[in-house]
């Protein structure tokens, strides 16, 4: 009986785990674009820190993806 929940668990893990990073990445990129809008010269300087920040936010989604893969393999 518990085995039948594994596909549901995998789906929920990835789905719920993507909410936070989605919001975070959108917010971060939005702030970066806003900063460029105020001051177009900094676009080169902002690019690398923005990418690093986005990469860190995305990592949280990747953790959820790994859990989903592990569950998927157990099916």
């Amino acid at each position: 009986m518990p085995e039948s929940f594994i596909p549901l668990a995998a789906g929920l893990a990835m789905g719920l785990g993507a909410i936070g990073p989605g919001i975070g990445i959108g917010y971060g990129a939005g702030k970066a674009v806003e900063a460029i809008g105020r001051n177009p010269e900094v676009s080169g300087t902002i690019l690398v820190p923005m990418l690093i920040g986005l990469g860190m936010a995305e990592a949280v989604a990747i953790y959820a993806l790994v859990i989903a893969f592990l569950l998927f393999g157990k099916m």
Binding site: V48, L51, I52, G55, M56, E58, A59, I62, Y63, L65, V66, F69, L70, F72, G73
Partner: protein
Amino acid sequence: MEEEISIRATTIFYVGPLPVTNTIFSAWIAMAVLVGISILATRRMTLVPSRFQNLVEYVVELLLGVCENTAGRRARQFFPVVATSFLFILTSNWMGLLPGYGDTPWLRSSASDLNVTMSMALIVFFLVQGWAIKSQGILGYLKEFVVPMPLHLLSELSRPVSLAFRLFGNIFAGEVVIATITKLFAIALPMVFFGLEVFVGILQALIFSMLSLVFLTMATLHEEKHPQGGAH
């Protein structure tokens, strides 16, 4: 749809008691590429560089500049680890996009193996602790753990985990995505995902090495505070 790519890498042969996996073999190939480039670039070094030597020098100077921006005067001491991890991860990621790489018996992108990424993350972890002890002394190092416990302990322990899983997750998920898309529709559409993987490859290499640099810098930062605040 059956499981296309397994998380566990396949073992090719054994060296004594140690298994050698396809990811380790690919890591050797990436290392050979990097060493080969270095040998070619430094074979007949001139003060006014040739084109190839100039290109390699440009990359090295770029990385050293980034280190100096973050770490200041310790840049040269952190540069080997940071630059090596960046170049190795970048080479390994981009080589993983070549034809022949995948879940094949001999070739598989090294960073798609959790063992590889975790070992790199652990090396950075031990380096950070070592540098912290070296720059603050044993007492200073231990004092960091007393002040709001368990804050410092948790943050130090979570770093190698996050470093390892971030790199592993991104590269492994890229492999699965490309395998899946190619199974679904093998013409033109996979090109989009290969482009994404090129971007992700260099981005994750950058993130791993930048974070390592930041951790190393933070570990050695306190020694500058001692002359200023006597109560540290």
